[in-house]
Amino acid sequence: MKSGVKALLSALFCILCLVLGVVIGSAGLSLADTFSILGYRLFGLPLPEHISNIAVSIMWTIRLPRVVAAFLVGAALSVSGAVMQSVLRNPLASSYTLGVSAGASLAAAAVILSGVTLPLLPSLTRPAAGFIGGLMTVFLAMGLAARFDRNMENVTIILTGMVLGLFVNAFLTILTALSGDHLRLLVFWQMGSFGDMKWHACGMVGAALAAGLLVFSCFSREMDLMTFGEEQALSAGVELKRVKTVLLLTATLLTGAAVSFAGIIGFVDLIVPHVTRRLFGSRHRATLPMNALLGGGFMVLADLIARTVMAPRELPVGAITALVGAPFFAWIYFRRRGGARRD
């Protein structure tokens, strides 16, 4: 199949996921109703009589932001996972394995519990905390890795990140156990949820995603070269240290923003990049935008499952991504093993 056709199919899949995400749910609104509400809210078009104000409010303040946020978070996690895998030249690397998610969620949890807000931009508090927390974990992991291994081999970075991630997670667990009133919120948030997404969250994650994609598109060739090895990249003319720093920071920003709103959602940043590479090849110029599309669509679908399967009870979306993701990942991985002559 031509990659143009595949891209078109992916876009259709993505749109289908979004439509399903918006239409399916407890308010019982049809697709046409949804468009009427959109037209009413966005362009001031008259609202058909059979749609109540409550329905408008549910759609506009709960359902739509939730679906959009799920899409953006899925896209951000997938793109940053793909970048981490390429930069660290390891198919098992992700913001999860580097400890970024753990650091970001600890910082965000601290903000939630303490009730601290930034003076001028209170809505920026959580993503800022998430970014700083994620960044600190990455720096700490890199610093420790440099002490253990002067050449900063990628395997050392990943192992250090995993150990540090588990360590930081322990603090999060302790914090959760001691949190009393906030216990439910924190527990649920640790498993990932799009339950209380507002439009401003969409704005934040969307801005981070746009900035990230712009930066990554400037460095797509560098990333291509880096997947062949650091010395190959250097010898071809890449300013490796600078590029690697910029890329890891940007990937951390994406993960930090996503995690600080939606909590920890695993597997997406691991599976989606692999699936996308299988479909569209390894070239970053093609694969990164597709990661955003497929990752976003997948997350909307996962969230849809999480909130409908046992409705009105909601399942943590992280559990859904893992339930779907783990077997899928194993299938991809072992199929690849069987097919490839060299690994």
């Binding site: 198919p91 070269l225 997947t227 010898s235 071809a236 003319g237 070239r283 002559r341």
Partner: protein, 255 residues
Amino acid sequence: MIELENVSAGYGGQDVVFDVTCRFESGVNYCLLGPNGCGKTTLLRAMSGLIPHTGGILLDGERIETMPRRKIAAKIAVMSQINTIYFPYTVYDTVMLGRYQHMRRGPFGGVSARDRQAVEKCLETTGLSDMADRLVSELSGGQCQRVFLAHTLAQEPDTILLDEPTNHLDIKHQIELIDYLRAWTSDGRHSVVGVFHDVNLALRLTDNMLFMKDGRLQSGGKFDEIATRAFLADLFDMDIAGYMTDSLEKWKGVR
């Protein structure tokens, strides 16, 4: 031209190469030879700016540590053993990546018609034209090495530094690679500096030799002028000339 003045280099503050002074003229091929751990690969890595060094390394008169990577890449390319391929690219894309230092930068920078021509020419010289759309991960070791050769040639450097690139190749592909490189340098404008284990393979590339032992440069010059039986025996810690002539006797007996 690459000039080394009292170069020492190593890893993690521990020098492996000591006080090397020598000069590689442009348009001339050289081989670095010596036993395992003599520092020949380390010297090569320092010469390409991959690891830090003390002393002076000058590329056409300019100090390498002050040069941006793109400028180094315009003069020097490094070709080493095949690495593990995690994420497969097509042959064409892999070779095109060698054009990196020629490409415009930024989000809309990219491939020019000249880049495409250069890549097609490299594919042709290495006999890969009909494999351009195959994935590198599907190729055999010998084909893979040819892809990386084409990738290196597409960079259009003045000098290729070879770091034992033939390690995983069978004898046919080893010879093939050396012959490609000899053809590339036959125009007198390009040169290859290679690190080899195999003295015979080195001799097929050139008879300009630099011998190293224990991190120091022992001597350099034409093979037949400096490589006496005693010198080689001392360098490699075994009677290598005797071994070679013994083998030759056996080969002469092959019908």
